[in-house]
């Protein structure tokens, strides 16, 4: 489908994706709320920081960091690979391939359509954060807020593209679920999701700087909590979007190679 037609169809895809996402309201809400690991880490790290700060983090900095992490994770989370892996294995991807819109666009619409529900969950958390911390926990620089919005889009895109690539791996292996498990282990440790990146030893940080994980969580959280100057933020944003560009290229390649191997099993 041409980009113009895709964009024209996109609002309908989003509307129907949203209707689908909220078909089981209670289930959706429980699922979104189950991603509360940052709140667990908040409790853990604030206990650790009660006696003395850890690096630059005292108790209130940890509260700000992990509340921001919770919000960023809600706004950038995406689990499309589950659907792709399932559809490749049992052949229902055929239904998407028959439609004159690229399947990756329809997966992306489905992922985006869940966003309003995620925002509904994030909003109270943002209000709680403001009430608990006042405004001192977040940056006051409007330019950094613009950068933050861009970093949220970049983080979501990188996460989506990782999901696409892992989902496409199902074309080559019979299942790509374990591959995603491996990615998620690295993601949890190296993205800033469980541990702020600046608490890692310098040598580990040097490695993290060359990997994409921190751009999925760490960067938006750091921008939100005012950890970077404008120039440093801009440089990091460029790095993040470079990873997104690499992800787009890798996705296009794996999709093209993978779909040739699609066996459309099962009737």
């Amino acid at each position: 489908m041409s980009l113009r037609n895709t964009l024209r169809a996109f609002p309908t895809l989003l509307r129907i994706g949203f209707a689908d996402a909220v078909a089981y309201r209670a289930e959706m809400l429980v699922w979104v709320l189950s991603t509360t690991m940052p709140l667990v880490m908040l409790a853990l790290w604030t206990t650790v920081a009660r006696d003395a700060p850890v690096g630059r983090y005292g108790e209130s900095q940890f509260v700000a960091y992990f509340l921001a992490t919770f919000i960023v994770r809600q706004l950038t989370g995406c689990w499309v690979f589950w659907e792709m892996n399932f559809e490749v294995r049992n052949g229902t991807l055929a239904i998407r391939l028959l439609r004159p819109i690229h399947p990756l666009w329809s997966y992306a619409a489905g992922a985006l359509a869940a966003m309003p529900m995620r925002i509904i969950v994030s909003l109270p958390m943002a209000i709680i954060a403001l009430l608990v911390l006042g405004s001192r926990g977040v940056t006051h620089d409007p330019v950094l807020w613009v950068f933050w919005a861009s970093s949220i889009a970049g983080a979501w895109l990188i996460t989506l593209l990782v999901n696409f690539i892992v989902g496409c791996a199902s074309f080559f292996a019979d299942s790509s679920l374990r591959l995603m498990d491996a990615w998620l282990i690295l993601f949890f440790v190296l993205s800033g999701y469980l541990i702020p990146i600046d608490l890692f030893p310098r040598s580990v940080r040097a490695v993290i700087d060359w990997l994409p994980f921190r751009f999925q969580i760490g960067l938006p959280v750091e921008l939100m909590t005012g950890a970077h100057s404008r120039s440093a933020a801009l440089r990091l944003l460029l790095e993040q979007w470079s990873w997104a560009a690499i992800g787009i290229g890798a996705t296009a390649w794996t999709w093209r190679r993978g779909v040739e191997r699609f066996a459309a099993y099962g009737g």
Binding site: M1, S2, N5, R8, A9, T12, L13, I16, A19, D20, A23, Y24, G91, T92, A94, I95, L97, L98, R99, P100, I101, S106, E260, F262, A263, A264, G266, G267
Partner: protein, 335 residues
Amino acid sequence: MIRVRALRKHYTVHQRAPGMAAAFRSLFRRARSTVAAVDGIDFDIETGARVGFLGPNGAGKTTTLKVLAGLLHPTSGEVTVDGFEPRRRQDAFLKRIMLVLGQKQQLLWDLPPSETFELNRAVYDVPRPQYEATVRELTDLLDLAGLVNKPARTLSLGERMKCELAAALIHGPKLLFLDEPTIGLDVSMQATVRDFVRRYNERNGATLILTSHYMEDVAQLCPRVIVIDKGKLLYDGALETLVAKTRPDKRIVLRFSRAIDARDLEGLGKVVRHEPVQSILQVHKDAVNAVVGRALATLPVSDLTVENPPLEEVMSELFARGRSADLQPGNDDVA
């Protein structure tokens, strides 16, 4: 409309024996084999034709359909559909075709079918007035009123299949691939689906390619059949000719005014079934007149019909016999 030459589709599949030891061995070394799902077939299909693909399970029918619909990339061979190479899945091609998979659904499970219709309107870029007219027409023809606003998961199998058909036709495809469209449906719903599909073909001049294990679907819808077995083409031609060549027999169904003994039928032909007041005889088609004359003269016949053998039996015999010299492709031309 469709041109297929030397089409092959081979799969590489892993093989593993049952048991723990085999599972462990498979971690290190996996036996692979190549399966020729489609193994060098040729055929042409004209615009507006209704063609049935017949074959036992695993014959290669659905694989062929999926190659024609662009879902599978052929291993080798040449395939063109309405001037397009299906594997490229160009938008213009996808807008002309639809594949209905009886065992897979495009209806969004948790939403009413009307939402799937709307989704298809958007992705196929169907103008709103045309969409509304099509939905009205399909609702009338398939009696969908009252169904389209219920979640798909709450519909019966037959209701879902009717909605599947409607969803498949929102964009008015000129080429319709139907893979087991009546599977699991009761007899009445099968007839409804068949009737609808035939009318769609006649009204829109659409080309129709069907696979079904229900021979009645094929007999009712498809003047021409393509028979595939083990990936190879066994027959391409008129259904009637296939029946006549495979089983040059007729069945004479006799009903009697009083009970008769099986011995009374001796010498008339092969007795397929005998009940006191009804018998079915199988005789060579050239002997039908003589046997009918003798039966009328010697037995208390109250009713008599002459029928072809059931298509299921014809196909079983054909596949059991394997390839035979007189059923080679191309010996019966059907437009």
